[in-house]
Symmetry: C2
Subunit: 318 residues, 2 copies
Amino acid sequence: MSLGEFELIARWFTQPGRRRDVLAGVGDDAALLDVPAGQALVAATDTLVEGRHFLPDAPAESVGHQSLAVNLSDLAAMGAQPAWALLALSVPRADEAWLAAFARGFHALADRFDVELVGGDTVRGPRVVTVQALGFVPRAQALRRRGARPGDGLYVSGSVGDAAAGLELLRGGVAGDAVASLVHRYRYAEPRVTLGMTLRGVATAAIDVSDGLLGDLAKLCDASGVAAVVQLERLPLSEALLGRFGAADAERLALAGGDDYELLFTLPPSDAAAIESRLAQFCRITHIGEIVAGRGVRCCRAGVEVAVEVAGHDHFAE
Amino acid sequence: MSLGEFELIARWFTQPGRRRDVLAGVGDDAALLDVPAGQALVAATDTLVEGRHFLPDAPAESVGHQSLAVNLSDLAAMGAQPAWALLALSVPRADEAWLAAFARGFHALADRFDVELVGGDTVRGPRVVTVQALGFVPRAQALRRRGARPGDGLYVSGSVGDAAAGLELLRGGVAGDAVASLVHRYRYAEPRVTLGMTLRGVATAAIDVSDGLLGDLAKLCDASGVAAVVQLERLPLSEALLGRFGAADAERLALAGGDDYELLFTLPPSDAAAIESRLAQFCRITHIGEIVAGRGVRCCRAGVEVAVEVAGHDHFAE
């Protein structure tokens, strides 16, 4: 049986209205939404292309999760509370099993953060998924990439490198229990929404680690007009990553690998100790370096500067 | 020379801030936007896939125009004033000429409606363009598909069928001065933004004609719980359409063809004459039928009901 576009939308992508701030959702020409007074709207969009951002044999559920997670991570990096999403889905055919699993992955994450799918477009074409996430943040408290100052401490949440390791294992055809946690981290990375909201008015700058820690740190430094020094021995590396890859490769994956969706942020030195202990109650954070005057990103090991060559994640680089 | 993703974004898609309500635009993790007090946010997204929504040899400038126009048309159908857009662009390579022309078409339309591009994502993949348009409308005045009542008059703006005719000519390889206006109408359809805003608090229901007049009218009727009767001889057909295709094919294209981006709307009978003359000052509108009790859409010619078979535009229909 072949399903028409309108049936598709009705079957998998129309949810009963769950949020009172949705005045009109799926089923009109556009969604009609109520942004709370005093809050700025925060809007992000990210695209996943089959074969490039997810493997052709990726479980559809993980693609559904990822397509929303990357966008919620962008909102988290601004300190925003997510509220609504729109989904533009291009698929080669109305494959019911694939769509049902995709919707399951998407909605499971949406439910956890009380995000309502309020609109979208379903078309036939190559498998390309674009999600737009909308949320809000008190106007004066949004986190930005700019704002880091010399003397600020540099922090990262959770652990880095796991997702890139998971992708490398999948590409190499390695599977099994021993690598399951790394693969899971790649497929089901958790956006740091609560941490982002907690950093409002606290962090001087923030960015999410989507293209690799060093590349994203360079963007934060550029936007802030500062430099950074990373202490390599402080990088938070998981046991699974170290156990499977060893110290040198683990460091490479942590510095250059994308898709972890941790937050990288800066704290002013005066309040750092108090903030660190408050944040540590619900999320691991690690002080990995310092913001200094100048330009660029430098790495040190045991206090000595070392050269680290990593390619930034650039979709069009040769 | 190959351009990196970040250079691409900087070169063609970073505009100097033009709107004061953009607190952060391209260049942070997400856009930060100020919705005016008392207004609801209106959000729409539409995707164009090469080979399906635009021809592989379509001028890139027209693809840029279309990708924004289809979304502004959705906002117009809600009575919204457009404000911001996000662009998710998947292209096989960093083709500078194509991207420059695409950006030119996109920005020319954006400029005309004071829309600022505030974010997006550029990836390598098959040519697929997804735009999200954001705007606002006073909460109580949004146009909806529901709201049409028996006795209301049924109206359409401009002329219908031209865009579908233009596409049919392009597909058949027909070019030249004689068909230029139809082809132009397909490639550069103008969203009815001003009309939509004028219909606020006036029209009882509205939808844009993107999938064909009869198909879109059926959606409006379904949402409103009413039926409609269309008087076929009243359809506004352009001279170019009639001259090239003759009466029968012109009618077929007007009823089933998509991509005109005219507004289809209903007016209460009591105020219709005054509203009609007000609207006629800046936009052709035509009274093409009536809303009646019941379900479904019927067509009449010279007062006699006639059977019209048209396939609704469904991307997954066989």
